[in-house]
């Protein structure tokens, strides 16, 4: 199934795009997605720590990925 990936800030610079799609098998988790992302974009590992949001909500890794999910790579924030 297709999953939309958004990247911001330094993550966007590191992977070279702010928006992409990846193919995932059904039943995978956010933790699985993190591994897949780091395999496809090894530069992501330079980020060290980053959060992943699923449909605008922060995740803890255990959440299941659904088709058409909007996933965002959220590097350490610096608003305000």
């Amino acid at each position: 199934m297709k999953v939309h990936i958004l990247a911001f800030g330094i993550a966007k610079d590191l992977i070279g795009t702010g928006s992409t799609q990846i193919e995932m098998e059904k039943g995978k988790s956010i933790a699985d997605l993190r591994q897949l992302l780091e395999k496809r974009f090894p530069e992501l590992k330079k980020l060290g720590t980053y959060m992943i949001a699923q449909n605008s909500k922060y995740t803890n890794g255990n959440e299941r990925i659904e088709a058409q999910d909007e996933i965002a790579i959220i590097p350490p924030v610096s608003g305000g």
Binding site: G9, K12, A53, P76, G79, G80
Partner: protein, 138 residues
């Protein structure tokens, strides 16, 4: 009760103050963030704010709702700006009103402190020798 704005244009303090002012209000606390001309002594030319718009708005709304739960407040306004800001310009305004001032002071502090930890907005600093994404929230 709550006004959350993520804007591409200049923010307005009076707009925020007017929004939170009610007949029941006894005190209004306003936090105004401004672009400082240096980071740890190094000269800053400008900042560029990038946002994950829909989640930035939902997270700011969450923070405002948490503040309403924790303190007795009248209204809250959180306005954040995106894009390039020069030194002295305003990236964020938080206005909080309450019947008695203690709640407004405390809630306003809570809102900016929490915004800096959870809202998906990022700032890039432009120096004379290059630009860098700010990596931690002080």
């Amino acid at each position: 009760m709550i006004d959350i704005q993520l804007l591409d244009s200049a923010l307005d303090i009076k707009t925020c103050v007017d929004f939170v002012t009610t007949l029941e209000t006894g005190g209004i606390d306003v936090f105004i963030g401004t672009v400082r001309n240096n980071t740890k002594g190094k000269k800053v030319l400008q900042l560029d704010f990038e946002a994950y718009d829909k989640m930035a708005i939902s997270e700011m709304k969450k923070i405002a709702e948490q503040a309403l739960q924790k303190w007795s407040l009248n209204k809250i306004a959180i306005h954040h700006r995106k894009g390039i800001l020069k030194v002295g310009e305003i990236p964020v305004i938080i206005a909080v009103s309450s019947a008695h001032r203690a709640a407004a002071f405390e809630a306003c502090r809570f809102i900016i402190d929490t915004l800096k930890q959870t809202v998906p907005i990022w700032k890039k600093e432009f120096f004379e020798d290059g630009e860098v994404w700010v990596s931690t929230t002080p």
